[in-house]
């Protein structure tokens, strides 16, 4: 079943900038697709188009927008709400009754490993913990499709690897379809079923790699020669795309 499909999607901003050009891609339910590309190649624009925050200037998108998970680049937690209240926010916006949204929030907080921090305010959380809370917030509504906009770009390497491991386990357990944007090649190869390489502006998909490693993927996979080889190929493609 197709979860998300782009058909020759193009985006030209009013100032004439061509952000993305002729992007066609399909994500089946249970697939985790990552797009890597140089800065400013229009990767984030693709997510905004997918979610409906932006209207493309050409092409069509097929996705169910009623329940779409969107994990932002920043944690975007509301600073005046505790972790629990933040995680409850989406259920609240969708008018879900209090008891039910508390149950959903508790479960989601446990899933991301933040139990015990329910009553903390964002200002007392580390960057990685904020991202977990942000992830938990998205999880409450159990969206079948997740869009990730470089969510782990701002955390340190070790935390990032932890979060990659956990996101990958989560994806395995929940079976959602994911479209993940990143700069990091190891992150892309480690989590994805498929890696797409995007060119510099205007963004086009220039290469596509199937990732053969079975799930669940263990952290040590990162030191596997096959992993290094695939990462190398993606890196070469990215370098080519940069010119």
């Amino acid at each position: 079943m197709t979860a998300l499909a782009f058909d020759r999607v193009g985006m030209v901003f009013p100032d004439g900038t061509r952000a993305v050009d002729e992007v066609t891609l399909t994500i089946e339910q249970g697939e985790f697709v990552t797009i890597v590309g140089p800065s400013g190649c229009g990767k984030s624009t693709l997510l905004k188009i997918a979610s409906g925050l932006l209207e493309p200037t050409s092409g069509t998108i097929e996705v169910d927008r009623k329940n779409l998970g969107y994990v932002f680049q920043d944690a975007t937690l509301l600073p005046w709400r505790t972790v629990r209240q933040n995680v409850e926010l989406l259920a609240e916006l969708h008018g879900i009754a209090k008891a039910e949204r508390q149950r959903l929030a508790r479960a989601a907080i446990a899933t991301v490993g933040l139990s015990g921090f329910e009553n903390h305010y964002p200002k007392s959380l580390s960057g990685g913990m904020k991202m977990r809370a942000s992830l938990a917030r998205t999880l409450t509504l159990k969206p079948p499709v997740f869009l990730f906009d470089e969510p782990f770009g701002a955390v340190d390497e070790i935390t990032r690897e932890h979060l990659n491991d956990e996101t990958q386990q989560l994806f395995q357990a929940e079976g959602f379809a994911g479209l993940f944007i990143t700069h990091s090649i190891p992150e892309a190869v480690f989590m994805s079923t498929k890696v797409l390489v995007m060119s510099a502006r205007p963004g086009r998909i220039v290469a596509e790699y199937e990732v053969p490693f079975p799930y669940p993927r263990v952290p040590d996979l990162r030191f596997d020669p096959e992993f290094a080889k695939l990462s190398g190929e993606v890196s070469h493609a990215l370098r080519g795309a940069h010119q």
């Binding site: 959380l125 580390s126 932890h162």
Partner: protein, 299 residues
């Protein structure tokens, strides 16, 4: 921080360490400032400066001014005995102060209501903001002293006129800070609300208004002080009607009652300070838990 709090923080830090992450405020070393040091670095300096200033005051009263001119600056203990401890003059000061406080508070309440209402409308409709803003700036730019005669000309010297002086100078900081605060939520947060089809009023209540609170409090503190000034200035220039601290200042100056004049000045500044502190306390109560630099003054 109490022991219980400390234990909770420690427990939290342990869990965080297990997760491989430390919250930014996790205690790493025990805080080493004892009560003695705190006294020496925080309490002592202003006390020393205060003593020095009192000393200068005495020097000016007794050594600089000749006895004939001493009424210009009576020494501190005379201000205390004649201005504060003499019940007849002090009760007069207190009564006038109460009258001015009432005017200032009513003016502040109106400033808040008007400022909020205008800021909310302006934040919802840019065209209103563009229409109104130049006039607000113009009004703000007219010196209040130029407006007082006009207000007296139209509305007399009663409560309404007095409150109006307060509102004219106090409404602007609330309006500007609230307006600025309402637009301070990050774009990503707005996107989040957009993605989940939040209505205009939900967005205003759950996103824009709470994120405006720190700026609103900064504005409140400025406006509260200005409202006190407005009450005193209005009363001073009206010069009649219900007697406030402004009229009293003028009367004591005309009577050459230096002690009472200084006592009134001190009481007026105490009023300003207590209003400022009260709003600081309120700010800390409302947003101190989540806002990083709450209590650290306005922007």
């Amino acid at each position: 921080m109490t022991d219980v709090d400390q234990r909770i923080v420690n427990a939290a830090a342990d869990v965080a360490a297990e997760l491989g992450e430390l919250p930014p405020d996790a205690p790493r070393t025990a805080p080493g400032i004892g009560p003695g040091r705190w006294f020496a670095t925080t309490v002592l300096p202003p006390m020393v400066l205060g003593a020095v200033l009192l000393g200068i005051w005495y020097v000016v009263s007794y050594l600089v001014l000749s006895p004939k001119k001493r009424f210009l600056l009576e020494p501190p203990h005379r201000v205390l005995t004649e201005g504060f401890l003499d019940w007849d003059s002090f009760s007069e000061i207190l009564q006038a102060l109460w009258s001015s406080t009432r005017v200032a508070m009513i003016g502040l309440v109106f400033s808040i209501l008007i400022g909020f209402a205008m800021a909310i409308v302006m934040s919802q409709a840019k065209v209103v903001e563009r229409a109104v803003f130049p006039f607000m700036v113009t009004l703000q730019a007219i010196p209040i002293l130029a407006l007082v005669p006009l207000i007296q000309f139209w509305w007399g010297t009663g409560q309404t006129a007095r409150v109006m002086v307060c509102v004219i100078i106090a409404v602007f900081p609330i309006l500007v800070n609230t307006l600025f605060g309402l637009s301070s939520a990050e774009k990503g947060m707005h996107d989040l609300f957009t993605l989940h089809n939040a209505s205009r009023s939900t967005r205003l209540r759950k996103l824009m208004f709470p994120s405006a609170l720190p700026a609103i409090f900064a504005g409140l503190r400025i406006s509260a002080g200005l409202s006190v000034i407005g009450a005193i200035v209005g009363d001073f220039f009206f010069g009649k009607g219900d007697k406030g601290i402004g009229q009293l200042l003028r009367k004591f100056a005309n009577d050459l009652s230096g002690e009472q004049l200084l006592a009134s000045v001190i009481m007026s500044s105490l009023l300003g300070i207590s209003v400022f502190l009260a709003f600081g306390w309120l700010q800390n109560r409302v947003i101190g838990k989540w806002y990083d630099s709450a209590g650290g003054g306005g922007r």
